[in-house]
Symmetry: C2
Subunit: 140 residues, 2 copies
């Protein structure tokens, strides 16, 4: 069985549907010239951009505002050696517009981490890729 | 409840014990100047370095050999809004020594993805950090 048989590429709509079903993903960015990653709660906005809620003073906000980041979510099952992963790549920006902030307070993501103050970070869904690993046992 | 109350920093040994209990983590690296991430099976070597099994011709091998990467694993539970994440940061190198390769064929990680040929990538555990999110419901 070749590599290509084990994996199936997912279309954009399939990727967004899978993303919408999980509460935690990971922001992939660069911090002090090193690769960095942070698990976060998120939600999808109506334009498919990824929304995160964090503290105004967080390292994440300082590191990602205005830069291109990746956002990844996945689900794997050890019993069947199967699962999926989806990656959104795009520019991250802190939401500064007061009306937009108000809208997201009502409809945006809720962090599992209690926040005294909340800022929202939006990751544009410029590139959305995903793949499904089918249960692959042959030859293993 | 402040941010500090919700999280507990994990010690190196605690991090390694948690890592040893999950089959899938994520390599965080840079590909064509953009942040990139790939979920992979892994195992821990006896010196706590992270071992991955992949194809000799994979993008991952080309992108990470000789560079500093991050490796992340986590487990979160939506019901309790709790979980943990661990990040290993260090230099990645492809295992080229034949005796070492042989040892890893016997004792190293097995990929869920069938591989015609296998190369092993080692990520040195130069920095190991982790944190636990305790179930945080107050104020949410």
């Amino acid at each position: 069985m070749s590599r290509n048989d084990a994996f199936r590429a997912l279309g954009r709509q399939e990727c967004l549907r899978l993303l919408a079903g999980v509460p935690v993903g990971r922001v992939i960015y660069t911090r002090q010239a090193l690769p960095a990653v942070l698990p976060v709660n998120f939600s999808l906005d109506t334009d498919a951009s990824v929304l995160l809620a964090t503290s105004p003073g967080s390292d994440l906000v300082r590191a990602v505002d205005g830069t291109v980041v990746a956002f990844e979510a996945d689900e794997f099952r050890a019993e069947t050696r199967s699962g999926w992963s989806v990656i959104v790549t795009g520019r991250a920006t802190v939401v500064t517009d007061p009306a937009e902030h108000e809208r997201l307070v009502r409809t945006g993501p809720a962090s599992w981490m209690p926040l005294r103050e909340t800022v929202f970070v939006r990751i544009e869904a410029e590139m959305v890729t995903g793949r499904e690993l089918r249960g692959a046992t042959a030859g293993q």
